[in-house]
Subunit: 429 residues, 2 copies
């Protein structure tokens, strides 16, 4: 199968389809969900080995295991120390590496497992959300050269004092990309339960198409806008270290998934828009009647940041009376907390009211092509207008345009935009 | 509670009941079997801390967890590599240390957990049955001095190359004793589901009495003869390093358990016999008509040892015809394998037959007092004879006499011997 992986003309010239490659593969909890599925992972790894490639496999905990462990800790304390929580949670991936190594050995593939501490994946000491500082790749390379498949526990590392750390949920993707970067792997393959990145969520638009390639920048926008295929940190990491990243299905034999590329595609037929992303979980706050004077934005957003609330879009309109309305969006779960914070701020800054708007969503068109194609915004607004969808807020970047609309319009907006930007059409591969 | 631990005149003079002590406590899988039970362990540890003692806690995996993990591996392979099996199995204790540390912190007790690799407990590389080579006790001592309870994973260690090893089933007892030896702890307390060591199995003899003290030598004989209170290796270890070992119930508030002492009791009323041990799982092999010449024992037992079969008692009788009968006992599960081995040996050595006797058991009287009290053997044989119990084999050591009898007599033999040696009587504490 890997022979076909760099199957496009470009890549073939670069690495050749028959040369030995070093591949990092990451399998998530669903792919490792049962002994039967672990056997399937082992078979897939064996196929790559049989083709002569060196393989490093990063695995997550079996699906359900992390939740089971968290539930155990919750029966003991409501305020777990992050250090001890990480000691407990990291066992999930440790079980997985041992089991996959056993499954590989059972079908005649030499394999050796490593915990994060053993690799070692050095992190800071921010338990439960540690950052990787470095990886000692020498032992892995020696094992690979000795003919072993190396199986590494995702999601975990070790700090300078030898304490076990975890990278936070989804951290196994980051482990995979970091290992690929450290080993200068030819490709980092992320196996999931979807077969690639789609132009939008197929549950909303059945005509959604799988993308063969997407740029890192687009993928970052898609991920930050709610597309859950890849953890955003791992995409950033891959972009930074120029790791060739591919998303594939672990339940499909021969799919080529979606390749996340550093460069824009050289194809003539480059589409303007790569996908429609959305986020259902939006709420809007408006501080009404704010004096239009310097420092007001900080006076409002400072206390919000102090309360650890993430703010997304921000808009300020100045009226004719010298008073401004200051609006921003937050995650819906943070809305009540934000209103509480601002009720205290209101008197200090002399605002007249704090208004909350709960049932909103965000819909975005994403594509690196848009910076060379004027008129994307106009087309987007016109399309929504035809359907009578009122736009509440707008935010733009180099490669995306986002609008906030009432949540009830979410599916309709995604569908009409998907069609308007020709994403329903089959493209040449 | 610990104030009462060294509550006998002797010990009080030695250490004083109110001085701060360093205690190693080991809790098995049943004691750690649920969040509720883990909370109880935490409370017990807290009580010792409140008395000013320093406490190191060694824990096993939650009951059932090791079997669950083994079952997972069995679904993947019938011939697991011991290295990877240890990676999987060691997670059980790792979960336990994190959970107990969380439970302690939740009730306000500073606690810190360590895996075997973190301590570090250095072992050889004999996966699944590793031997402890050394312990780096300095970090533990620093944590204790800083006011922490230190929670250490039992059953596991790490070899020179950083690979995870396990000490074999029951290895947590050994971890506890080894830590107590390394830290020169004042006492190593093994918490189990029984409240101490008894004169015999109370399920067979309801009048069986708990022993306040027992010597290491007696404990070793009791353990090797089937009394399952303590793992035999940990008793050897404790004897070798003069660790004061106490067996206690984790489900009882104030029991003093049984103290396993290095020296014989100084009490006047020292009983001749401390207990009656037994082993149901015995089988006897007789090689009939062996030429009585040098080297025959080796010719018979060499191939048996090569087949990894443990031999217990060995007897050789020379008849008048210059031919000998050579008998020995093996575990019942090894009987068929042993017969197969000897059928091949038979022709080579010119024996006439190999006979197997499956339904046997071993009953032993154990006591350091017997070497200064003649007549123990005679009393034992007489007692069995009165009941019509035929003795098939006899073996003796300095502190025990064992007989092999038909299995159907096991309960009867234990009961009459228990009574004959006055073990039913209450003793002065």
């Amino acid at each position: 199968m890997f022979g076909r992986l760099p199957g496009r003309a470009n890549s073939k010239q670069r690495s050749g389809s028959n040369t030995m490659a070093l591949i990092v593969q990451k399998y998530g909890g669903t792919s490792m969900g049962s002994p039967e599925r672990i056997k399937n992972v082992a078979k897939r790894v064996a196929k790559f080995r049989a083709q002569g490639h060196q393989v490093v496999v990063v695995v997550s905990a079996m699906s359900g295991e992390t939740n089971r462990l968290i539930a155990l800790t919750k029966e003991l304390t409501t305020t777990p120390s992050p250090r001890e929580l990480d000691v407990v949670l990291s066992t999930g991936e440790q079980v997985s590496i041992g089991l996959l190594a056993l499954a590989l050995q059972d079908i005649g593939v030499a394999a050796k497992s490593y915990t994060g501490a053993q690799v070692k994946i050095l992190t800071d000491s921010a338990y439960s959300k540690a950052r990787i500082l470095g990886i000692d790749e020498a032992p892995i390379r020696a094992d690979l050269d000795a003919g072993n498949v190396v199986v590494v526990a995702g999601f975990q590392g070790v700090d300078e004092r030898g304490a076990i750390t975890t990278l936070g949920r989804g951290g196994s993707d980051t482990t995979g990309v970091a290992l690929a970067a450290a080993l200068k792997a030819d490709e980092c393959q992320i196996y999931t339960d979807v077969d690639g990145v789609y132009t939008t969520d197929p549950r909303i638009v059945p005509e959604a198409k799988k993308l063969d390639t997407i740029t890192f920048e687009e993928m970052l926008e898609m991920a930050s806008l709610g597309s859950k295929v890849l953890q955003i940190r791992s995409v950033e990491f891959a972009g930074k270290y120029k790791v060739k990243l591919r998303v594939l299905s672990s339940f499909e034999e021969d799919g080529e998934g979606t390749l996340i590329t550093v460069e824009e595609s050289k194809k003539m037929e480059q589409p303007v828009i790569s996908g429609i992303a959305f986020n259902r979980d939006e709420a809007k706050i408006t501080v009404v009647g704010v004096p239009d004077q310097p420092g007001i934005a900080y006076q409002i957003l400072g206390p919000v940041a102090d309360a650890n609330i993430d703010v997304d879009m921000i808009i300020q309109n100045v009226g004719r009376d010298g008073l401004a309305d200051f609006s921003f969006t937050v995650g819906r779960g943070d809305l009540d907390k934000t209103v509480n914070v601002l009720d205290r701020v209101k008197a200090v800054i002399g605002a007249t009211a704090v208004e909350a708007d709960r049932n909103l969503c965000k819909v975005s068109v994403v594509g690196v092509g848009m910076h060379s194609h004027p008129g994307v915004a106009a087309k987007m607004f016109q399309t929504l207008s035809v359907e009578g969808i009122n736009i509440r807020m707008i935010s733009t970047s180099e490669i995306k345009i986002s609008v906030v609309v009432e949540e009830k319009y979410l599916e309709l907006a995604v569908r009409v935009l998907h069609k308007a930007f020709d994403l329903d059409l089959d493209r040449a591969a």
